[in-house]
Amino acid sequence: MAWEAVIGLECHVQLRTRTKMFCGCPVAYGSEPNTNVCPVCLGLPGALPRTNAAALAFALRLGVALGCTIRAESVFARKNYFYPDMPKNYQITQYERTLCEGGALPLAREGGGRAIALTRIHCEEDAGKSFHPERQGDRRWSRVDLNRAGVPLLELVTEPVLRSPAECAAFLTELRRLVRWLGVSDGDMEKGQLRCDANVSLRPTGSTTLGTKTELKNLNSIKGVERGVAAEIARQTALLDAGERVRQATLLYDADHERLAVMRMKEHAHDYRYFPDPDLPVLRVSEAQRAEATAASPELPWAREARYRDALELPAYDAAVLTESRDLGDYYEACVPPGEPKLASNWVMTEVMRVLKTRDWSVAEWAARVPAPRLRELLARVAARELPGPVAKQVFAWFLEQDGSVAELLERHGVRVAGGDEELLPIVRAVLDENPGPVAQVLAGRDATFGFLVGQAMKKSGGQAVPQVLQRLLREELAARTPRP
């Protein structure tokens, strides 16, 4: 039988707020263990949570971008279970009335172009980190670092509408781009800033009922999600093909060994005893706040990508690369000379991105060195056929090390560009006069010889002419010498 996969993702996005979700402790990486803590995030007796307004603003920003319904009143709830890295032994989260409901994330054309429907987005607090067990002499120790405890998270849950591992990867890639675009998260999966669990089930192709699902945890890279889901689909297919049934379970994906391990069967499911957290008031989002979040919403990455393709007529590949980050897209747009989107795209995608890569710079670091107007001036002169390619590349290299406009740099380095027709026309005429043989051949239709004439003219200009200009002048002069029929 042919099986169809039904996949739902549950993603956790760590927000890049300055402070934690319910206290004033800094959100930071790499601090000494248990230093970014206070009575609240340590869960000390008597301590109470207070909501971080910045985290809510971030949540709203994401909710608006994804077209979610924003609840005017949502409720924080306690999810009760014991774990040593969760100081209160309950997590403050949202359960029945969550901040955002519905909405969808549109996948890029490469990802299949579908819009993936969302169930909800809600705010919650992160747990700390456990390290265990470690041997010390004859004893085994577990250690807990609570620096991460209380860091704000958004949980985003999709409907069970994804159909393939590749689509899962495309979803996460798009989500990562979006959260970075909106500035709500750094979205680094390796640092745990973006985490993902997957619910996977199979059903006969064409069926509309749902099969028994399993939950995959520990998918800590986009590749990991793709491979983990693929492995689980393969495992379930084998079971079903053999006439066995899939049993509800939670599985861990081991990325190093590319295999799945059963963490627990669903018979031991938790009863989390959710109830509204009496320490926190109902979370109210006013109409004004909603309107403000909507008004402040930037052009979204998929919309901009479409605009680059459709309005700027960039190839799909260029549009995708240039909208990988908002900084890059903004920079690109700021250095497009009038009517030359493709020229700017070429330069940003090759020259600029090469520097970013080799120097490991962010777009912001690059832009601090070479502000967009500077690059735009250079590109405008290239577009106007005023600079030969090698000279333009040289100027670009000088940009990195030196200040000054294009003209100033050329001047400083004694580079003369023979640009104007008045300057080049005498050279062109002299070349034609000195090479009657090749001229005759070209006029007789042997176009291959045209290159020879261009080379001669370039040589005569001392390499300072723009080839396109030389070519145009040569063609014009040759046309003038063509015997009239």
Partner: protein, 491 residues
Amino acid sequence: MSGPAPWRLSAREVAAAVRDGSLSPGDAADAGFAGPGARFEGEVHALLASDASARKAAAARVPRDGVLAGVPVLLKDNLCTVDHPTTCGSRILEGWRSPYDATVVRRLREAGAVVVGKGNMDEFAMGSSTEWSAFGPTRNPYDPSRVPGGSSGGPAAAVAYGLVPVALGSDTGGSVRQPAAFCGVYGLKPTYGRLSRYGLVAFGSSLDQVGVFARHVGDVAEVYRAVAGSDPFDASMLEGPAPDVSGWAAGVRGLRFGWPANLWREGVDGAIVAALERAASWLERAGATRVPFEFLPGAFAVAAYYLLATAEASSNLARFDGVRYGLRMRSDELATLYTRTRGAGFGPEVRRRILLGTYALSAGYHDAFYLKAQRARTRIAHEYAAAFARCDWMLMPVTPSLPFRLGEKTADPLAMYLSDVFTIGANLAGIPGLSVPMGLEASGLPVSVQLVGPADAEPVLLRAARALEAEGDERNIPPGHEKEFAWPGKR
């Protein structure tokens, strides 16, 4: 200085004496220990901790111009303090020291008060007799064979016997008002959201409120003023400033008090009924009008209360697990570490309530118990609101009975729970209640009445209490039963 011994002074008198330099904060703080404390504490056991050097250090730092300059206060042991341990009367927190002061404690210190120690309580504030303290019961200073009430029994008894003029407790279902009644002192449970809960170790978060004990109405007002008001560290507080109680002595002329006599038609001790009649006639004499009506604040209030309070408690007390602080029973295995620590650290009443609350929230029972109790709570709040459309406050009993004997109710949890019937309404509705001593009844036990008002009615409740206090100064101590050590004195 001449005049009464310092331990007999009201908080306002202590502060005035400290401000004018006639009394040093150190002497003020030591007064209760040197006076009756030396005689009574051994028998009553109101204190869980009292660190003389911490007291001395605190007295040395007192701002001399504070409204409570030099006033010694005792804190219930569920209010976090940096200079004394905070145990909540539980083995699981034995010796634990908070790295921070509760907001109300910080405000007391800023006003000049000196924390002289921590008062005994039922473990985690769960109980009505202070018999459930892991560190031994507190006894009633009027009769050591009887309980002082609970859960704030230690602070109530200490104020009664003269260790301190004022104390703070906490009231989740009557835990300030009932011990105040049993010990013959004033006990205010303020409107929910007017006193910060930051640093009050939670029992039932939506019901808990810090409360004030004092021997004088004016002292209740002064302490309320010092500690009330919004706190950015407590998100559950009401918006805006706390009501102004400076007019506590303004009298009750022209005000109306509700008289829901159906509440005490049966099952209430005759001495308490007599005290209610006496209070009503005094209020009428002071110019207030009695408005009789039937009042049935939800027949299921006790059931709703014990479901909601225990549900919240089951979650609030989850953090006591032996991992980060407090008692730890070692084990190589996590689940065993939890179960052994909690089994050894929590007493029987706390375990019972955690089980009850866990059950009430469990899948399959959540709707039938927790949700239904929430609906009952909403309805009870509406019933109180409807009653207050007809009066400025209601007069009612604090408890159905006078102080009971130690051991009388510990074997029957339900009987103990039912004794909260008149106090839990204010917690469910989030409204203020004030326990007012009406003197001693024939056998020498204190008898009290309760004033309950709508949200933010503290100013009115204090005015009514003052009207009763003014009358009581003349009449409310039956001859031959005056306990000079405990009674406020005729000022």
